[in-house]
Structures are given as C-alpha cells and as structure tokens.
C-alpha cells in the first residue's frame, strides 16, 4: 500500500558540514475500502439492515474519516455521533468488526481491509437511528453511583492535600470519558439493562478510593445491590473495549473486595 521515495539532499561543496541523508519517507497511497454499515432509519425501515459503501482512504485515516466521507459524498442521511474527533469526548463508540471501538481512534491500517469492515451501533441500548443509541439508561446508572466528590468536615483554606500514593490508587479510573464502549460490550448488560454496568462502577471506583472523599459507604451500598458489582462475571470484554485502556475488570474486583472485607 505504500511506495518509497528517497529524498535527495543537495550539499554545498564547500560546506564542512557532514551531509545529511534524509530517511526514506514512505508516501501513503489511498486505497478503496468497503464499509458494511448497519443502517436503521426509523421513518422508513422496519428493521436495521446492512448497506455497503466504498471510500478511498489512507492507511492513517480513521474509521470516523470514512463515515464523514460517506455522509458528505455518498449518503447524507447516514447518522452517527461525533464531536471532538480526537478520543476525548466519548461520542463515537461503535461496534467495528464486531468489537466496541471509538471510530475516531481506529486507524484503517490497524484493521483487515481485505473484507468489508462492519460498523454497527453499540449493543444493549435502545437504537434510535443508524449508529445512534439512546444513552439515557447509561447515564442514569452513572448518576446513581454519586460520581462527585463528597468531602467531610470544613472546607480547607488551601487545597485538599493528597500523597502521590493515595492518588495512584484511583489514577486509572480518572481516565474515563463515558463513551459506553465498556458497558455495551458486557454480555450481562445485553440481557439485563438493569445492571449498572462497568462504566458506572469505574466512576464509583474513582471516588471510593480517593482519600479526600468520605462518600465511599454510600457508593458501596448502591453497588451492593443485586444489579450492582455482583452481576459482573469477569468476561473482560469491558477491559478489552476501553479506548482509555482502563483496567476495568480489575477496578470492579477492587470494589467487590471493598464490599467483602468492608475495607477501602
């Protein structure tokens, strides 16, 4: 897919500087890539169905680029969410070749393009249109774990001091962007939308293990529910799906242990 061009460097003859040879620069070439997208337009379609689109892409392009090209050049009705386009806002989690990924962080060179690339909405949340699902049940679970600092005592005049070790305990779970890739990769959630899901537990973990926070017991009580952490069957789909690389199953195990041993 790439051709190679060797840059020629002209060196002044009188120069006493050693000639610089530029490294070989691969020049990317656009290739036709076929996307098989699961379309659903509630105004016209009874059922979701697959539609193929072919777009020319560079290896360094992202799946999001492809969706934007399809929407811009082939079918303006294609509906998906995106905002930042840089893996920060959490808008564009979708199922790419069967796995939950952010379209804006999935490069063409990292997927097998010899077959059509399947793109479909994340699973287990109500489908609204094409790749857009209703995120409300997901955010409802998030709100229930009290995802905000609940400090104790008087507000200090300066900052709330915390050691590096104390901070390290919940560092991993601060990285969440609420994309729902984890929760909608979970087989337990697919069949039981009452389950709080990994993302809500990640949010709870971020505060339960924060030394500045005093609300751990309230959050642990919420997650001790029969639809709470005990539903987790350690399938690791969430950990594999998280675009932030959060060790979600580990975080859930830590919350389970905090409940079993009543110790944080």
């Amino acid at each position: 897919m790439t051709t190679t061009v060797v840059a020629e460097v002209l060196v002044e003859p009188q120069s006493n500087v050693t000639p610089v040879v530029m490294p070989e620069t691969p020049v990317p070439v656009a290739t036709d890539v076929t996307f098989r997208i699961r379309r659903y337009q509630p105004d016209f379609d009874e059922e979701p169905h697959w539609v193929d689109y072919t777009v020319a892409l560079y290896p360094t392009d992202r799946v999001l680029t492809a969706l934007e090209k399809i929407k811009g050049e082939q079918d303006g009705s294609l509906t998906f969410r995106r905002s930042c386009a840089h893996g920060v806002c959490g808008s564009d989690a979708m199922r790419i070749n069967g796995r939950n990924r952010l379209a804006c962080k999935t490069l063409v060179k990292d997927i097998d393009i010899s077959k059509p690339i399947t793109v479909e909405a994340i699973k287990g949340l109500p489908l609204e249109k094409d790749l857009v699902v209703d995120m409300e049940p997901f955010f409802a679970a998030y709100r229930q774990v009290l995802p905000f600092l609940m400090p104790e005592g008087h507000e200090p005049t300066k900052e709330r001091i915390q050691s590096a070790e104390e901070r390290a305990r919940f560092d991993d779970t601060t990285k969440c962007i609420l994309c729902a890739a984890c929760t909608t990769s979970c087989p337990v959630f697919w069949t039981n939308e009452q389950y709080f899901g990994p993302a809500a537990i990640v949010a709870a973990h971020r505060f339960i293990f924060d030394s500045r926070d005093a609300g751990a017991n309230a959050r642990l009580e919420v997650l001790n529910d029969k639809e709470g952490v005990w539903r987790c069957r350690t399938t690791f789909n969430c950990t594999d799906a998280c675009p932030r690389g959060i060790e979600i199953t580990k975080a859930i195990a830590e919350v389970k242990q905090a409940l079993i041993f009543r110790r944080i």
Binding site: R38, Y40, E47, P48, R95, N97, G98, R99, T118, E120, A121, K123, G124, L125, P126, L127, E136, P137, A140, A141, Q144, S185, P187, E193, Q194, F196, E227, R233, T234, T235, F236, N237, T239, D240, E247, T249, K250, A253, K256, Q257
Partner: protein, 140 residues
Amino acid sequence: MSVETPGFSLRATPIGTLYRGGEGMWTWVLHRITGVSLFFFLFVHVLDTALVRVSPAAYDEIIATYKTPIVNLLEVGLVGAVLFHAFNGIRIILIDFWAKGPRYQRQMTWGIAAVWLLIMIPGFYFMTIHTIDALFGSTS
C-alpha cells in the same frame, strides 16, 4: 435503576454480528455451559444412586444400561467439563482476590488449556480403552 425498561422491548436492534469477545468471554460461556451441565448430571446422578436404597435390583439394571460406548463418551465429556469448570473456577477466584489476577487472566486461560489437554489426552485413552477393546477386539 430508575429507568423503566420492560423486558426485551428495549432491544429494537436485532442482534447484528456476534460480538468478538476475547478469551474471557468464551471461558465465561464455557464456564456457564459446564456449570449447568454439571448441575443436570448431579441431579440425575443423585436419583440413580438413591435408587440403590429403594431397589438394588433396579439399580443394577440401570447401571447396566450405562455400559455402552455412547455413555462412555459422555463420561469422558463429564470429566472434561468438571476439569475445565474446576480449573477455570480457580482462575476466576484468582481474578477476584489476587491483585495481579486480572492482568494475568489471559495467561491463566492458556495455562488451563495446557493442563486440561495434558490430562485429557492420556485420560481419553485410559477411559475408553475398555470400550475400544470391546468394540474392535483386544489389542493385547
């Protein structure tokens, strides 16, 4: 959760493609299948064993019907299922309680597969050699 979601009506999305989960998802599927199978086996096993107290003759009759090649294969399957379920059960316990468990879950899965094969390959021979002899004549 506070959201009103009656049963499956939520899932307007017909299933789509199969989710391509990793080792963790498939060991979970196998763990559940073997667990439920073991439950049904034990259920029948308790019944047939209890029969010996009711009527030893009927018990002998039932046990005699088990001496077929098909039941022999089922026995191999049972041993395989118990072994997988037990080993994977230990893996899950380590994931839950050993701090490094979640990070090594994949390696533990392949470890289980190796030990399982190490036991099942000779196990298959010793468990079925009698049936094979009976079917195809003694090799000795």
